[in-house]
Symmetry: C2
Subunit: 221 residues, 2 copies
C-alpha cells in the first residue's frame, strides 16, 4: 500500500472562512461534485462506516475520499481497499479543516471524474464544528461507547449536522446507552437532523445511510 498519496496541507491565510466556504460550494456546484464532511470523536468508526457505505454506492457513483489526520496513513490505506480514489491529508498538527484546507485536499485528490467526495475530518467533536469546510452536507458519527450524554457536552457539533449516525449498535447490550434519551437530546438541539442507528460490523443501518446520501446527491445535482 506504499502508493497511497499523502499530502501535508498548509494552514489557511484567509481571514473570512465563511466566504471561502461559499466560494468552494459554488465551484463544486459548477463541477458537479458533491462534498460530504464526516466528523466524529477519535475511534467512533468513521473509516469502517465509510468502507461499508462505499461498497454499497461505488457501482453507481464515482467516489473519492480525503482522509484527514494529524499523522499516519492507516485510514487511507483501509479506504484504498475499496478501490475508490483516496488521498491522506496531514494537517500539520491542526485540529480541524477549514474551507481553504479542504480546497487544497480536493486539488490533491483531483475531482475531474468524481460525483461524490467524502472528507473524513480530524477526529474531534469540538474544533471541526466551528469551521465550514465548504461541504454540501455535514454528517457526524456518535458511537454507543461514548455515551448518550455527548449532545449535552458538544451541542455545536450536533447543531450543524444534517445527519447523525449512531454507530456500534451491535455492542449496545454491553454499555449503559439509552438510544431514546440520546435521540431526544439531539432533537432538542437540532429538530431537523436525520438520525440513523448503524453498526459497521453487522451492517445494520448502512443501507439507510447510503440511501440518504444517494438522495442528497441526487436532489443537489
Amino acid at each position: 500500500m506504499d502508493q497511497t498519496k499523502v499530502l501535508t496541507i498548509k494552514q489557511s491565510v484567509f481571514a473570512d472562512n465563511d466566504r471561502q466556504a461559499d466560494q468552494l460550494r459554488e465551484r463544486l456546484k459548477k463541477e458537479g461534485v458533491f462534498l460530504l464532511n464526516l466528523m466524529s470523536s477519535p475511534g467512533a468508526g468513521k473509516t469502517t462506516v465509510l468502507t461499508r457505505t462505499i461498497n454499497l454506492m461505488k457501482a453507481k457513483w464515482r467516489i473519492g475520499v480525503m482522509e484527514a489526520d494529524i499523522d499516519s496513513q492507516v485510514d487511507a490505506d483501509t479506504i484504498a481497499g475499496t478501490g475508490v480514489k483516496v488521498i491522506q491529508l496531514h494537517t500539520g498538527g491542526m485540529c480541524h479543516l477549514d474551507a481553504d484546507m479542504t480546497a487544497q485536499g480536493l486539488a490533491g485528490l483531483g475531482c475531474d471524474e468524481l460525483d461524490l467526495v467524502i472528507l473524513e475530518n480530524v477526529g474531534n467533536l469540538v474544533c471541526p464544528a466551528e469551521f465550514d469546510t465548504g461541504a454540501i452536507k455535514n454528517a457526524m458519527i456518535l458511537s454507543v461507547p461514548e455515551g448518550d450524554d455527548k449532545p449535552l457536552k458538544y451541542p455545536l457539533m450536533f447543531s450543524i449536522c444534517d445527519v447523525l449516525l449512531i454507530n456500534k449498535m451491535d455492542v449496545s447490550p454491553y454499555f449503559n446507552f439509552n438510544l431514546d434519551r440520546c435521540i431526544e437530546r439531539v432533537r432538542a438541539i437540532n429538530p431537523n437532523i436525520t438520525i440513523i442507528p448503524v453498526s459497521a460490523i453487522s451492517g445494520e443501518g448502512i443501507e439507510r445511510f447510503a440511501d440518504w446520501l444517494t438522495e442528497s446527491v441526487t436532489a443537489w445535482r
Copy 2:
C-alpha cells in the same frame, strides 16, 4: 444538584503560555497543591475512572476536581456524589485549557485546603496536547472501543503524558483491540510512560492508578 458551582472561564491574553505554566507550577509547589491534568477523547471514561479513583484516595488526601466542558454540568454533578470539592468549568467553546484558564479554574475552585487537584480537560485528543496547563503530571485515557491505532494518529498526546490508562478493558472481548500492539505503539512514541489497563466498571487497575497517583504526589511534596 443545583448547587454545583459553574464558572465560565475567559480565553487567555498571554502570548507565552509555557511561561505562565511554569509560574503556575512554582505557585502550586509553594502552596503544596499537586495538579493532575487528565485528558482523553470524548466518552473514554474520564469521569467514571475519576469517581472510582477518588473513592479509593479521599480518606487520605484532600481532593478537588475541575470539570472542563464546552457545555453542561453533568460531570461535576457526578463527581459531587463522591463528596470532594468540585467545580464545573465552561470553556466558552474553547477546545482546550491553557495555563491561564487553569489558573482561573483553580481560583474558582479554591485550593486553600487541598492536597490534590485533578483537572478533567475538554474531551479532545488534539488541542489539549499542545497547551501546558501548569499541571505537575499529565494523564490520559484511551478506551478499548476507540481502537489500538490511536497512538499512530495522535502521537503528540501520547508523547506528553506520564501515565496512560487503557480503559473499558471489560468490553475488550467485543472489540478488535490488541493490547500488546497498542502498548508497543505507545512505547515507540514515549518509552517512559506508565501504562495501566483499567476498567471503571469492574474496578480492574484502578487501585494501581491510585497507587501511581499517591506515589507521584508523595514524591513531589
